[in-house]
Amino acid sequence: MDQPELDVEACVARVRDGDEDAARCLMEHLHPLVVKIVRAHLPRRTAEEDLVQAVFAKVFTRLDQFRGEVPLAHWVSRVAVNTCFNELNRERVRPELRHADLSETESEIIQNLAADTGEVPAAQALEAREIVEKLLADLSPADRLVITLLHLEGKSVEDIRVITGWSTPLVKVRAFRARQKMKQRLKSLLRENHP
């Protein structure tokens, strides 16, 4: 059975007054959005639930700063992305990816890429994602964020500007540099595969 539509504005007003039932309703309403963002930007050594909780804690304590100029979901997205970004910043060790770190299927994907045999089969999408995650883990948080938003979530430069608060030229420059770094990493993986 479908849940009745939540009156977000009224709910936010009640949360601002300290109503915990309203806070619970708002959490349930926003949970799918927050989980989606957290999963896309989750640092490798952080538990998903811990980060979800950190995002909600920030949303509730900063709700007074929400002026309603943008939809609540946009504002919450920004809080969630920034929380993940800060968490990624804390993750200082970024090990370089070696070919030996890849699983058998991942290695096969790299071999196929090297052989230039067309698109990666849909059945190997999960492994492709895993390789990309491993390549991203090697990048700085800002580079990782911009590649995830641009290439994996299909966001536009304008969307990224709104979410991150960076200027349009900065988004473009970061995307370009991040891509260059990924290319370098992928090139060395391919070279290891076909010396």
Binding site: E49, Q53, F60, E119, A125, A128, R129, G154
Partner: protein
């Protein structure tokens, strides 16, 4: 477009198509922990908010009092200025403001 560019694009396209698991239900534990953290933050705010406002108010009042005493002292020194000077500024407050550079 270089060979490595094409390879990276193919990899990214495939990764973007990877199915994502459906978000699990919001667990009761997460809900409770979040609400507890929020409650603690509100309690801290309620405790320190008025105290902070009171301290800020006190500091502002003290600053204003010191400034007022300083201004009136400076004005009282200038009130006996040369009365024969045709260019003397008659308003002591204005004179202080001029001398301290508050007015252009």
């Amino acid at each position: 477009m270089s060979h490595i560019d094409r390879n990276l694009d193919r990899l990214l396209r495939a990764a973007a198509k990877a199915p994502r698991p459906e978000p699990a239900e919001l667990s009761y534990a997460t809900q409770m922990r979040t609400l507890a953290a929020w409650r603690a933050a509100r309690a801290a705010n309620a405790e320190f908010g008025p105290l902070y406002a009171w301290r800020t108010g006190l500091a502002t009042a003290f600053g204003t009092a010191v400034l007022a005493v300083g201004l009136s002292f400076a004005a009282s020194r200038n009130i006996d200025a040369d009365v024969n000077d045709p260019y003397v500024v008659s308003d002591p407050g204005f004179a202080v403001a001029m001398s301290t550079g508050w007015l252009p």
